[in-house]
């Protein structure tokens, strides 16, 4: 808990400025990354021409939350400034939309050289647990490889697959399956212990 709080603090100030100024366009269905900042909520302050809000006080994760941590807390994992990308069934190739998102994600990562990024690979629940665990690895790796081609140092990334084990949507329908076939990003201030 202490570590997570410090991660938040570490990221908050630059994030606030970034989000307020650059306001990177993101997936419309990802509310956490598309936050109105100067909306009069508590925790904001006015400094020069910049509206600054404390996302943590608004109950929003800026770093992206690890899916396993979210599970332990009994909550849905929250997406931070780095938007999730989605995959086709049984595929790990990056689609056009995913590449656009990763371009934006890479810009942010390059602007924040002090952070480590964990890339989680996920799958929908069709197929076996074990194959889906491997498929999630492949997706996470595909995302990492693409970010590296965009100029981010490979040492900044770690990957983990959760296969089909940590879905964010529980219905048996394509709309839901697609949400689960994702790569999710967690921003960490330091390399996790190996």
């Amino acid at each position: 808990m202490i570590r997570r709080a410090s991660e938040l603090l570490f990221c908050c100030i630059p994030l606030m400025i970034l989000v307020a100024c650059a306001a990177p366009p993101v997936e419309p269905e990802e509310p956490a990354a598309n936050v109105p900042l100067a909306d009069g909520t508590s925790g904001e302050s006015r400094s020069g021409g910049i509206n600054e809000g404390d996302l943590a006080q608004q109950g929003l994760a800026v770093t992206g939350q690890g899916s396993l941590d979210a599970l332990k807390e009994g909550a849905a994992p929250q997406t931070g400034v780095l938007a999730d990308v989605y995959f086709s069934y049984d595929r790990s190739e990056l689609e056009t939309e995913a590449r656009e998102i990763l371009q934006r994600n890479s810009d942010w990562i390059k602007e924040h050289p002090g952070v480590q990024i964990e890339i989680e690979g996920h799958a929908d629940n069709r197929g076996t647990n074990e194959y889906n665990l491997a498929l999630g690895s492949r997706r996470a790796q595909a995302v990492k490889d693409y970010l590296v081609t965009l100029g981010v140092a490979p040492e900044r990334f770690s990957t983990i697959s959760y296969g089909e084990e940590l879905p964010i949507c529980g219905e048996n329908a394509e709309q839901c399956w697609r949400m689960n076939r994702r790569a999710h990003f967690v921003v960490r201030t330091q390399r996790p212990a190996s």
Partner: protein, 478 residues
């Protein structure tokens, strides 16, 4: 000292003493010197004697069934009609545990699950148990043949102080009016059900030529309402469910050690995927290695075959007991998972998407030569090699849903065992190579089922909160 998980009936010694038919006195227990089993004996609470000699012939007097053995095991064979009488209280203490009905239920349920027997409707029984005995000559077979019973199971029990009890079980041929099996078991009350399972295994041995598998366990993963996945094991009837992991994360792919006294599984409890071993005698968990899929111990117990991920790519590796890589067995950018050893340990079947679709392959361990086993369909995975070596079971996708198949290791004789509009996955062989456990979502959420290898007698094993997956059938337990 905490009671080990294994103590509910893992190490049990059994001594058989064939004696003459009709003898009713219990023989004295023979002390067999056996140093290797010394430690096991410390746990032993169940001792069994054969009360009556095994008869040479089958049960049925029916003309079409002069010889029972071999007849009742074939697919489509008519089921053998058995009556299971409520057990008789042979002692002076009241039956506070309702053993009379409960243990008869255990026996009837096991026999029914096997699919080889039809249990005569127990509400139709006409015998007055208060006026009859359980030994030959103390009851009238016509009370049973009238109901169509071909075989009759009778039993009695006596409870003692200190939670101990004794059972006496008999299988009779109702037409020939002869004893077929007599067995006595004594031990603690908490093993009462297990003694009944063992008697059923004796019946199946007698009637099919191979011992039954009801005195075994099935390990599996249960998902709780909190969505954590933990490893458990239970009896085939779902009773005596024991929890193995309790780390409130995700634990998957439990697989039994070959001696039945431990399990391996994959856990993300540390934030990374690791293979852990759990010893059921010492109750201790040990990290073995980083891991990325199902691990299976080799038949000699010296090596673990498991997929490991390197740079997003899964290959099959062979590790030693300490978890160190001995050998990388596959070298391909495709996903290689689900290794399973042949019983001789000379081959490993695994699944791979190396040629586009997901298929099962067989690897010669000594040479590294790889041969494709499955050609039909585009999603064939999670193979399990039968202990007999004859068949490999696997999960295959047909018309968008998963089903269980078997195939011979030479690629012949492909059979589809399940065929419904739901998903049946993750087959695991029973130690007799005649039954399989698997996962199915036919009831809505995923549950563990068992079936015969011909696909007959599909029965549900579990029914816990959010779902059960990844069954592994234990070896025979001593």
């Amino acid at each position: 000292m905490a009671r080990p998980l294994a103590s509910t009936g893992f190490p049990v010694s059994e001594e058989d003493h064939p004696i003459m038919q009709g003898t009713t006195a219990l023989p004295a227990a023979r002390q067999t010197p056996n140093t290797a089993r010394g430690a096991v004996r410390a746990f032993a609470r169940v001792t069994a004697w054969i009360l009556a000699g095994l008869m040479l012939c089958g049960l049925s007097a029916g003309a079409a069934r002069a010889q029972v053995t071999g007849i009742i095991v074939g697919p489509g064979a008519e089921r053998y009609r058995l009556a299971v009488s409520p057990l008789k209280n042979l002692g002076s203490r009241p039956d506070t545990e309702r053993l009379s009905e409960r243990i008869a239920d255990v026996i009837a349920d096991d026999l029914d699950r096997s699919g080889w027997f039809k249990i005569v409707d127990r509400s139709a029984y006409i015998e007055d148990p208060r006026k009859t005995g359980i030994r030959l000559g103390s009851f009238d077979f016509r009370d049973w043949t009238t109901l169509g019973a071909e075989g009759l199971i009778k039993g009695g029990f006596e409870t003692y102080g200190g939670g101990r009890l004794r059972f006496e079980f008999w299988l009779y041929d109702a037409f020939r009016q002869t004893q077929v099996i007599g067995k006595a078991y004594s031990g603690e009350m908490r093993d009462a059900r297990r003694m009944a399972h063992r008697f059923v295994d004796e019946i199946i041995l007698k009637l099919t030529g191979t011992r039954g598998v009801f005195d075994t366990r099935i390990a599996y993963v249960s998902t709780g309402k909190d969505r954590f996945k933990e490893v458990y094991f239970s009896h085939l009837d779902g009773t005596e469910k024991k929890r193995v992991t309790n780390n409130r994360t995700i634990n998957m792919f439990p697989w039994w050690r070959r001696d039945g006294k431990g399990l391996v599984y994959l856990s993300v409890k540390t934030g990374k995927w690791q293979v852990f071993g759990f010893d059921l005698v010492t109750n201790r968990e040990t990290p073995i290695a980083r891991g990325d899929g199902r691990g299976q111990w080799s038949p000699d117990g010296r090596h673990l075959a498991t997929p490991l991920e390197r740079n997003g790519n899964h290959d099959i590796y062979r590790l030693n007991r300490a978890g160190h890589v001995v050998e990388r067995l596959t070298h391909h950018p495709g996903i290689d998972t689900s290794p399973t050893w042949s019983p001789k340990g000379d081959r490993i079947a695994f699944s791979s998407d190396r040629h586009g679709s997901l298929q099962v392959y067989v690897l010669e361990v000594a040479t590294g030569a790889i041969r494709r086993l499955t050609f039909k369909g585009s999603y064939n995975t999670s193979p399990d090699w039968s202990p007999s070596g004859e068949l490999i079971a696997f999960t295959g996708r047909t018309n968008g849903v998963m089903n269980i198949f078997t195939i011979r290791p030479d690629g012949s004789d492909l059979r589809m065992l399940t065929a419904n509009r739901h998903n049946d996955e993750d087959p695991s062989w029973a130690p007799d190579s005649r039954f399989l456990a698997f996962t199915s979502d036919r009831s809505g959420s995923r549950r563990i089922y068992t079936m015969r290898r011909d696909g007959e007698s599909q029965r549900r094993l579990t029914g816990s909160a959010a779902g059960d997956t990844n069954p592994s059938w234990s070896p025979r337990l001593q």
